[in-house]
């Protein structure tokens, strides 16, 4: 595990380039900073300044090397590297509220933006006009879209929203692709069709993720962690603070993190169709347990009405909520490394192999 503290402000969002040597992130303001790893230092090489509002989502397309950013100024920009500088292209999203999240599709010919105006903008490049055009998915979304994830077939899009539902839409654009083959979620997929709508959660859906095959989807809601694998749907009620982001690391295991400041592993057993808690993925520093003097005990009793010697300092690697998880190596099928960024302005890189050996009863199926 390595932890690097970039700044004091929260990192709103981040994205890695293809070979994982550069990271683009927003330090909670209108800019996007790109850092490059040189040796063991991270050096800021570019600052992208075009947005007029906080940048809420960044995604870096690995193959075509384009960055798309979206912000509270209701705009999205597609950045291409020309020579040594990144040049922005405005994308008109036709939304009247802030954009919240953005994701490139797997083939990188379109991207989706979730926004506070209760719709998803699916944007694709129109060759004739040399311009990015967008189509809206409006029904039946009733509130802000908080998170998005694409299915590997480049057509289906999972969206988590503040109206307490996670839905899977079809984002099939006939101008840029052919008709998709039938999937586990359905066979007729006209644009905007709802293939699946969840029931049963009572909190905002903060994070959503498709598995590598696309047959399973998991989403992190404020109260529970539901999981759908055709045809069974199961959920796990959490005993911890709400989870904000979730990702699959193999077909059966998920890593999620949130306000508790450490990532947690969940394992899905397909025989029992049940999701279970796998373990806490944090190796806290073993602070020296010094004995408590009588004076300290009395002081604790006076101040905090308890004789515990626990300090009010967090023992986890991140010192504040984790807001985003991204896979670094191995894809969603066999992830070897993943990265978390959070409100403490730091970025931690977690190595799955070392975690597995460090925690003896941790099993990543």
């Amino acid at each position: 595990m390595s932890y690097h503290s970039f700044l004091l402000e929260p990192i709103s969002c981040h994205a890695w380039n293809k070979d994982r040597t550069q990271i683009a992130m927003c330090p909670n303001n209108h800019e996007v900073h790109i850092y490059k790893k040189e040796g063991s230092n991270w050096n800021k090489i570019h600052v992208l300044k075009e947005h007029n509002g906080q940048v809420t989502g960044i995604d870096w397309a690995p193959e075509s090397n384009r960055i798309v950013t979206c912000g509270t100024d209701r705009n999205a920009y597609v950045w291409t590297l020309k020579g040594d500088a990144w040049k922005p292209t405005l994308v008109i999203l036709r939304i009247n509220r802030a954009a919240r999240c953005v994701k490139w599709s797997p083939k990188e010919n379109k991207f989706a933006v979730g926004s506070g105006s209760r719709l998803i903008s699916v944007c694709y490049f129109e060759q004739d006009n040399d311009w990015w055009v967008c189509k809206h998915i409006k029904k039946p979304i009733r509130s802000t879209i908080l998170c998005l994830d694409w299915h590997p077939n480049n057509v289906l899009l999972a969206a988590g929203s503040c109206d307490f539902k996670c839905r899977i839409f079809s984002a099939y654009i006939k101008e840029v692709e052919e008709k998709p083959a039938p999937t586990a979620w359905g066979s007729k997929m006209p644009f905007g069709e709802v293939m699946f709508e969840s029931t049963g959660t009572a909190g905002w859906v903060h994070g959503v993720c498709f598995s590598d095959s696309g047959n399973r989807v998991a989403w992190a809601s404020h109260d529970i962690l539901p999981f759908k694998s055709d045809p069974a749907q199961t959920f796990l009620t959490s005993e911890t603070l709400p989870l904000l982001c979730v990702t699959f690391i193999t077909e059966n295991s998920l890593v999620a993190a949130g306000h508790d400041c450490y990532p947690v592993l969940f394992v899905y057993d397909s025989n029992k169709a049940a999701l279970s808690f796998g373990g806490k993925l944090d190796v806290p520093k073993q602070s020296a347990q010094k004995g408590m003097t009588a004076r300290e005990r009395f002081q604790n009793l006076d101040k905090k009405a308890t004789t515990d010697s626990k300090e009010a300092v967090l023992e986890s690697l991140h010192k504040n909520s984790i807001s985003q998880i991204s896979i670094l190596n191995g894809g969603k099928a066999r992830c070897a490394k993943f990265c978390t960024t959070g409100m403490d302005g730091g970025m931690a890189i977690w190595d799955v192999k070392t975690l597995e050996s460090a925690m003896k009863d941790l099993k990543i199926v």
Binding site: S143, D163, F164, G203, D223, T237, L241
Partner: protein
């Protein structure tokens, strides 16, 4: 500034009511959820069988009901049972509940906090401590985010 910008009483129309995109909650009425049976619970408390009274009080929660009287009645019954318990019996009672039961108990506890009376807060705090030990922070979050409250 002109005088008419100070008062907003000229706003006679609530424009949010006419917004066609207004979020209307889907509520399903459940007529059979009338709350726990008060007489039965009273009878059991008088007999001293607080554990059974506890389980009965937590049955039939008026979650889907829009009738505030039903909810008040249910809350009163549950509060009676919770106060009838001795401090040492609280922990086994909480342990005998399943996951949903603990969540429901938490909902009643927080509802009880809203209207404190005499000694109720102290007793509710004891129950809260034991329920928290079993349910964790998740159960409190579920109380806060629950759309169908008790």
């Amino acid at each position: 500034m002109a005088k008419n910008t100070l008062s907003s009483r000229f706003r006679g129309v609530d424009i949010d009511e006419y917004d066609e995109n207004k979020f209307v909650d889907e509520q399903d009425e459940a007529a059979e959820q009338q709350g726990p049976d008060a007489c039965e619970v009273d009878h059991l408390i008088r007999q001293g069988d607080t554990m059974t009274a506890f389980h009965i009080a937590l049955r039939n929660p008026p979650i889907n009901s829009k009738n505030p009287a039903v909810k008040e009645r249910a809350q009163a019954v549950v509060l009676r049972v919770l106060t009838a318990f001795k401090s040492s019996d609280i922990e086994p009672a909480v342990k005998s509940l399943d996951r949903n039961g603990v969540d429901l108990l938490m909902k009643y506890i927080y509802r009880g906090f809203e209207k404190p009376s005499d000694n109720s807060s102290a007793i509710l705090l004891q129950w809260h401590e034991k329920a928290f030990a079993v349910g964790g922070l998740g159960s409190i979050v579920r109380v806060l985010t629950a759309r169908k409250s008790v």
